[in-house]
Amino acid sequence: MRLTRHTYRTTRPGLNMGAMIDVVFLLLIFFMCTTSFRPLEEILSADLPRLSGEAARRDDYSPIHIQLSGDAEKVYITCDAKPCETFAILLAELRMRRDIDDIPVIIAGEPEVPYEYMVKARDKCKAADLTQVAFSAQSEE
């Protein structure tokens, strides 16, 4: 009689692997569901204040001046000294000027004007297809 010893070993995990995997996947799915995604960030570009006033612009046109004044409570918009009630009116004014040519624009803002209005003015210039937009420097009027 031959004693055959079955030396194979059924590998039995020391830890309960199944439960661990379940926990990991649960965590994964939990974080996937509770993640809130930020709105996508985009980029708007603009030229900078020219500290030494530019003598000659590329065109012969005098630039469009957009002035924003006021503060967080109320912001006043003027386009070439003409007051605009809303940004939509500003856009209309800019489009009118765009029909003439791609005139350079200078956006000036008072110190307390919230940043988002300056960006919005820049945004409206771009919507009106005006490409030469700069923010004004302190030395300019």
Binding site: I21, V24, E41, I43, L44, A46, L51, Y115, V119, A127
Partner: protein, 140 residues
Amino acid sequence: MRLRKRIQLHSYQIGIAPLIDVVFLLIIFFMVVSQFTQMEIEALDLPPAAQGERPSDPLKKQIILNVHQEGRIQIDGQDHSVDSFEHLLQSKLQQTTPEDLRILIRADRQTPWRLVRPLMEACARNAIHQIHYAVTEDTD
């Protein structure tokens, strides 16, 4: 003779340990990566704009300025003032030309203009004439 039919049950043995390793690796990878992106980009309420574009040319060296509503300026996780930003800018300009350096201003939408403009003027003093502004999509 008894024919013993043995139905060979194919037991598929998936190695469990590598699976778990992969899952943990993924979790740790995403945790670490999110930490790095956190440093440059602070949580801010950006102004909306309809004409924003997706950033192109990711190979340009860039400086991201995070400006909070109260005027706190953070670059790469560190607090800065306008002067220290200008020093940083000048040191970066010793390595690259002004055209190759992209400046991105991420300012809270309610930041007063007087807190953002000195940063732009500092850039203009150092011959950088184009700045990018981070905006969100305008849903109006």
